[in-house]
């Protein structure tokens, strides 16, 4: 990959820092009136999710990271891997559980996810913002209680646990925001 100078730094740009692909979160130009100019940069390490702060002399360059984001459909899982497919090329890609991380608990077959590839290898999977999942285990619903605001835990078909209002019953479909892990509403079948 080409190297990229601090002059071209902007949020979202992906670069190699300490041999890991990172995305710029924030880039600030600082300079004493009579002195050396610096770029103070905040990165997210795309492998670990950790945030790092690093300062560069203005004009210094970093190698770009060959990172692309693509939309892939989740097909099925086997013992070691979760299998995804590109919906136009039908190309398939296996993702290990370690890379999938927390995303695993939201995925049901045919969900379309955003998959981050570094040098062609998957390094991260983002689930759809909203998923619809069936309740498999919760205390029986309390009919009519739509106002108290009280809640209880419910396990959904993928194994995740979410807090739901008391009226939710086993077998119902729920809309869930995967970014917060919160219940949004019931969904009629």
């Amino acid at each position: 990959m080409a190297t990229i100078s601090t002059n071209e730094f902007r949020s979202g740009l992906r670069l190699m820092v300490d041999d890991a692909p990172c995305a710029i979160l924030d880039n600030e130009f600082v300079k004493p009136g009579k002195g050396q100019a610096f770029n103070r940069v905040r990165f997210r390490n795309l492998l670990t999710g950790r945030v790092i702060d690093r300062t560069f002399k203005s004009g210094e360059s970093l190698p770009g990271a060959d990172v692309v984001e693509t939309e892939l459909q989740y097909l099925y899982r086997d013992d070691d891997h979760w299998h995804f497919m590109h919906q136009e090329t039908y190309e398939q890609l296996a993702v290990s559980e370690g890379v999938l991380g927390d995303t695993a608990k939201w995925l049901s077959e045919q969900d379309v996810c955003r998959v981050l590839l570094w040098n062609g290898e998957p390094i991260g999977v983002t689930p759809p913002n909203f998923v619809v999942l069936r309740v498999t285990d919760t205390e029986p619903g309390v009919r009519g209680d739509t106002a108290s605001g009280a809640n209880k835990p419910a396990v959904v078909e993928t194994g995740a646990t979410v807090r739901v209002p008391l009226f939710v019953d086993n077998g119902e479909l729920l809309r869930i925001d995967t970014r917060t892990g919160e219940y949004v509403s019931r969904v009629k079948e």
């Binding site: 130009f29 009579k34 002195g35 560069f56």
Partner: protein, 330 residues
């Protein structure tokens, strides 16, 4: 958004701010003129388009071509011309002008900016600090600024002994402060100090001093630029100061160097440093050189970033909010 209407995007032609904000900026500038008029300081004007640019290797000047086909530089500060006025017997002078620095864009930098610069014959840098303090107290209504020496600030806020720590130990500090390996390896001693200044000293100054406005003074001799160097307690110090308000660098002042021979030597040294760093070659300003040879009266001078002062007075977060037409929409 359900039930609501998305806000209209700001139209591209629209300047920043509103009538009220432009009025506050205009009133602030008017009060600066009153401040100097009351003290008998003469308002002057000097060219923006100059035959010679700043020698300072840390400053990149914009250039264009003059009617004679030769390069002209957009001034990065009116210092050289104002010193020619002083040498010609102007007495105390001030100027509110445009200044330009290439490659400087950020929350506190706009490549074109407003500068308030003034010179006081017979003032040393401490007496000029008094006056800078009076001006900013009158404008910002803040407490009288405190003074903290560069050496003390670095000792207490960066854990560095500016005089005796080795280059290697400064590099180690710079690494801890977050510099990349390459930056830490390539920075010269003053570059390391600049990094520690921006990362550790500036953010802690107001707390160290106990007031929001702080003068940092008596710089390392290597950072004298156009300031006098005096021996104090056995160590050479540049009689230079910077004013910080709430961690924002606002002004830079010197007890001015008047020795033409020493000034020539410093310019030549900066010229060699520019060459070593592969920067644009800059000719020494012979007219300034001759003016200094003719005789610059003993004086102190200071340059204050006017857009930053407006930013602080308005209580806005970035310099773009203090300027109706920042570079992004100029």
């Amino acid at each position: 958004m359900p039930g609501g209407r998305a806000a209209d995007p700001e139209p591209a032609w629209r300047p920043r701010g509103d009538r009220r904000r432009w009025e506050r900026r205009a009133r602030l500038i008017a009060s600066i003129r009153e401040f100097f008029a009351a003290r008998g300081v003469l308002e002057v004007e000097t060219p923006v388009l100059c035959a010679r640019g700043a020698m300072d290797p840390a400053i990149r000047s914009f250039s264009t071509t003059g009617p004679d086909g030769r390069t002209r530089w957009l001034q990065s500060s009116p210092e050289y011309a104002m010193k020619r006025l002083l040498a010609a017997g102007s007495g105390p002078i001030f100027q509110i002008s445009r200044a330009f620095r290439a490659g400087e864009t950020g929350p506190r930098h706009n490549p074109e900016f407003a500068l308030l610069e003034w010179y006081r014959p017979d003032f040393d840098h401490h007496r000029l600090m008094d006056e800078v303090g009076e001006l900013i107290v009158s404008i910002l209504g803040c407490e009288t600024p405190c003074r903290v020496s560069y050496v003390r600030a670095f000792r207490e806020l960066a854990g560095v002994d500016v005089d005796s720590d080795s280059d290697a130990s400064l590099r180690a500090r710079v690494r801890v402060a977050g510099a990349s390996e390459r930056t830490a390896a390539e920075l010269e001693r003053d570059g390391c100090l600049d990094l520690l200044l921006t990362h550790l000293v500036e953010p802690g100054l107001a707390t160290l001093a106990g007031v929001p406005a702080v003068f940092l003074y008596d710089y390392p001799a290597s950072q004298a630029a156009l300031a006098r160097v005096e021996r104090k307690e056995g160590v050479e110090r540049a009689e230079r100061f910077e004013l910080y308000v709430d961690g924002v660098e606002l002004a830079n002042g010197y007890h001015e160097l008047t020795d033409a021979v020493e000034q020539r030597a410093r310019f030549e040294k900066e010229g060699r440093r520019r060459a070593r760093l592969g920067l644009t070659r800059m000719e020494v300003d012979e007219r300034l050189d001759c003016a200094l040879a003719h005789g610059l009266p003993p004086c102190s001078g200071v340059a204050l970033g006017l857009d930053r002062l407006v930013m602080l007075a308005l209580g806005v977060a970035g310099i773009e909010e203090a300027i109706a037409f920042p570079d992004t929409i100029a």
